[in-house]
């Protein structure tokens, strides 16, 4: 047994999409479009690797909060997904002509909020909602639009592979809220506190998803699944307003009002 063998077995167990034999043919596209998409996948490699910190820390908070074994295990699974994604994204970047990114990446450690003034249960709920319902549901919408545009079979396969996992990550928070529905139902004060946090969280997330404008993509960019950075905030707003806030409202959180009145003020 080697660690590499164990990792390969683990990766195989996590896989949701069958392997695909397509290779990338750069000659079909203008070099500038390939370069734009390559830069995006290099950025994605770093982002996915860093995301492992987030889900790993979240898993610890769930354990502290007394979450179910299943919830904690699935959170650890999501952390592992992010490492596999980093490897996949690095592979795509190389196929697009990039220099092989070196994993593990150094620096850029991500820490998550501790919410010292609330209970451990609410701390976990706040962070689950932010990371999955808000952040990962935006990723689901982002990748869905990317897949809608992509025509290149190699790119479509890898976008689908990420999307298949992100659908779990995005839904996780709603399932988690459901598992705590009785607990929340008995605690109007916690629901009100979570709603206050949502106003802040929506504002922070909107800022985080607001990227500087770049030139919009052309037909070749579309074929490669490119989504311009400035499009992401609109994807995020659409998803929060019409998908996430209405779903959160079903748990007694005034999420739609929280979204309308989102603010950095506590």
């Amino acid at each position: 047994m080697t660690l590499e063998q164990e990792y390969r077995a683990l990766r195989e167990g996590l896989r949701r999409i069958e392997p695909d034999a397509h290779t990338f043919d750069a000659s079909s596209y203008e070099p500038a479009a390939v370069a734009r998409v390559r830069a995006l996948w290099v950025d994605r490699t770093q982002n996915e690797y860093r995301s492992t910190f987030v889900f790993s820390a979240l898993a610890s908070q769930l354990l502290v909060a007394g979450a179910s074994l299943e919830a904690s295990a699935v959170t650890l699974r999501m952390a592992q997904d992010e490492l596999v994604h980093a490897e996949r994204c690095a592979g795509v970047a190389v196929a697009l002509g990039g220099t092989p990114p070196t994993l593990p990446l150094t620096g850029g450690v991500a820490t998550i909020a501790k919410h010292a003034n609330v209970s451990r249960e609410e701390c976990a709920l706040r962070n689950v909602v932010y990371t999955t319902c808000i952040s990962e549901m935006t990723a689901v919408a982002h990748l869905t639009l990317s897949l809608e545009r992509a025509r290149d079979p190699f790119m479509r396969h890898h976008i689908r592979a990420l999307l298949a996992d992100e659908t779990l990550h995005g839904r996780f928070g709603f399932h988690y809220l459901e598992s705590w529905a009785d607990w929340l139902g008995d605690r109007p004060g916690v629901r009100a506190s979570l709603t206050r946090y949502l106003r802040f969280a929506f504002a922070v997330a909107e800022r985080e998803f607001s990227w500087p404008s770049r030139a919009p993509g052309n037909a070749d960019d579309d074929a490669l699944g490119y989504v311009a950075p400035q499009e992401i905030v609109e994807i995020h707003r659409n998803t929060m307003e019409h998908a996430v806030a209405p779903a959160l409202a079903r748990f007694g959180l005034d999420a739609e009002e929280a979204y309308r009145t989102r603010t950095f003020a506590p």
Binding site: R16, R36, N47, L145, A247
Partner: protein, 109 residues
């Protein structure tokens, strides 16, 4: 002060996300009233298809991706902007590619 609101109420990625989010919650809503025809004129049944699939028991992630894939395949190119660009390779990069979870922030007291 009025905060920005979404311009496009029901692009397909939102309908898919909404189907996933609502199917995960305690009670499924009616979906017939919230999914208008797409910009290409295609019937809005894609969203309800997605909602039914996403709401089935079991691990539906692979199927969910296929639903998103299939439903948008039928409406290919409807939302894309095929305009050309002068952008160069140097115009690329600088973020925007991330699809991982953001670190949750602490709210100031």
């Amino acid at each position: 002060m009025a905060l920005p609101s979404s311009r496009d109420l029901h692009p397909k990625y939102v309908r898919f996300a909404r189907a996933l989010a609502l199917a995960s919650t305690l009670a499924l809503p009616a979906c017939s009233s919230e999914a208008p025809a797409s910009s290409s004129g295609a019937p809005a049944q894609d969203a309800s298809t997605g909602e039914k699939d996403a709401g089935k028991a079991g691990d539906a992630s692979t199927r969910d991706a296929a639903v998103a894939d299939g439903s948008i395949e039928r409406d290919a190119g409807s939302v894309q902007d095929a305009s050309t660009s002068d952008a160069t390779a140097e115009d690329s990069g600088g973020g925007g590619g991330g699809v991982g979870p953001l670190p949750p922030p602490d709210m100031p007291a």
